[in-house]
Symmetry: C3
């Protein structure tokens, strides 16, 4: 951890940080970095954070950086959707919360589908739920060897999002993807790399140093060539991905109002409380 | 075999067996198991067996089980299409038999495409022909280390079915899929797993115990979440898969009336007779 | 090299060679072999060679061979587009050269998409640029262990072609394909095989012997079964591949007239001149 922290400090960008509550956003050396910054909550994504990430991606799309990087503060990459987003506060019905949550999710995933520049995930630790599923919409995914990838949808009575219901079977084949998407299998970084979800795995001790060295070199390549090539690759799937996002969000909205899902989430909170 | 047989007996469901001639169909612990039961013929699929499997899948789709499992009795998983299906009995012309065979095949593969719940193959031994190609339509494929996967289409003057002409190149890439689909390469269980056709390979000695332990745990997950997630994943490919099935069946119908195919099958029977 | 040369000689076809300047085209044992034959230039593809390959593929499609093989003379497979194709000679503007180059490229890739028989690459050494990208349109790709696969598009201010922008992400997943298509990663033969671009890697010493032994056996399989099965597999992607080819060519035409690309190619020539 010592070496890795040093490396992270060394790589810390000196550019200006925009006024986000849940994110650190900086630009340096042609790289805009969006760092999820709720380490005490394992970077769980609140509704505010969804909106801030959407705004940060919109900003990064327009700034003069060549590459955009996503990472997490602390030992976790991201623990996924903050389940407190589901808690009722008396102002809205279950159906209204499900509708609002679905629209936010649709907009969130859309921001990844439409992102116009190379997008890189620097997965610094365990990743859960939607932070895993949207990885299929990234161009590069670097992981340290402490990272894990877990999408416990059915355990929580839910269903896949982030276009994973289309991209994961396409990349891994259905026989491997179903373990992940239907049966809650947690992947190690090496397994995720073998299945094509991760570009490369690095020892934790050299992770930050090696990854930022590479990214800085990549950011010096001809920017239009990179941007237009990425858009070309994406263009061939874009309409499909938006349709998949819609179908996934519509199913989740239904799931969120089901007794099955409510019971599964309640069981989850109760088992946590027992620990 | 001793250990594996014991495990298989231990896992044998106690639910009711429907009146099929070529299958054992049972439901227990939320799992409906369809076992091909012509072990003396290596579970080769006769026309009767195609129809019984279609009926068993229709039943399983409607019963209250959570997961449906496909497996074979004896040491073979399935030796594929029973070549006696091609034998002329004087009542029908080659063209009529080809037409009937094509319609039956179309309906058979359609039953897999449309199956609404998680579908699991427990591949207990060698698999040949259509029992291999439809594996791309399963959600999980568990194999023991004695299983092999062989699709000798061109050797028999025929062409791929079971949506393999679309799914295999998609999962393996064309460079690997062509060896299997065009050039009769037989895969070991480990090779099939590396290529993404198989979820996981188990030693024969622990195969039945380990696989059924897992499946029983999976069958306790929220059933609607599983079913709707599987349907979501499938929905994105369903129209395409039906079109692929049609194209494959139409080509096979033509193949079955060709001299090239007749000669290849005759050579096959003659080489078997010589052994 | 001794053994490999002997093997190559042993396998040398005795059929007639058509009158091509840049190719050796022969037919023997049911196999038409198209050998790129500018070994002193590492088989770089000139405009003449593009046209000759198109013509050779058209011929091979119609001849009575069962399989068509692509390979290179000498130690290189192919160093890709001859950058001299970009040199202005005063007769045409940059825009006119870009337009002509784009049309030639479109026609070249179209010849691979539409090729009606099994197409095999025998990759005898390093492969660069378009000789790599079109490999996704081959049915089998055999490589010796000295082969490498390099597509330095962004380094040259350009963008992917040969349908690689669609096929590579489909086969490798986006996280692996982006390293190759966007960030100039050179793959070893073993890496390309693990990623599904290559069917199998052979030691250089046994490469020619083993590969030609196999191909001769494959060429004895029922030819219509092979041809129609290959066409079936391709038919499911054909319209998509033509659309991808168009989109790729249109972007490259734009790239070829950009300052970014001109500067990148000039830097490349200058760095070569310095060596």
């Amino acid at each position: 951890e010592g070496l890795s922290s040093t490396a992270e400090t060394a790589a810390k960008p000196s550019g200006s940080t925009s006024g986000f509550n849940s994110l650190l956003v900086t630009t340096e050396d042609g790289i805009t970095t969006i760092k999820m910054n709720r380490p005490a909550k394992k970077n769980a994504i609140t509704n505010e954070m969804y909106n801030e990430i959407i705004a940060a991606l919109e900003q990064a799309a327009k700034d003069d950086s060549v590459i955009t990087v996503f990472t997490g503060a602390g030992d976790f990459y991201c623990s996924g959707n903050d389940l407190n987003n589901f808690q009722l506060d008396g102002t809205k019905s279950v159906e209204e919360k499900a509708k609002d949550g679905a629209e936010l999710l649709r907009k969130y995933v859309k921001a990844y589908i439409d992102f116009p520049k190379p997008l890189v995930a620097v997965v610094n630790g365990p990743a859960v739920g939607i932070s895993v599923t949207v990885l299929g919409l990234f161009d590069l995914v670097y992981a340290n060897d402490k990272a894990t990838f877990h999408t416990p949808f059915s355990q929580l009575g839910q269903s896949p999002e982030g276009c994973s219901s289309y991209i994961f079977p396409k990349v891994m084949g259905p026989a491997k993807a179903s373990e992940v998407l239907l049966f809650n299998k947690k992947l190690t970084a090496v397994q995720a790399c073998e299945l094509g979800l991760v570009t490369e795995v690095f020892p934790d001790s050299s992770f930050q140093t090696e990854v930022w060295r590479r990214l800085k070199a990549y950011a010096k390549l001809p920017p239009n060539s990179l941007k237009l090539s990425k858009q070309l690759i994406r263009s061939e799937e874009k309409a499909r991905l938006h349709a998949v996002n819609d179908a996934e969000v519509n199913l989740l909205r239904e799931r969120w109002t089901s007794d099955e899902c409510a019971n599964a989430i309640m069981s989850f909170f109760m088992s946590k409380a027992k620990l």
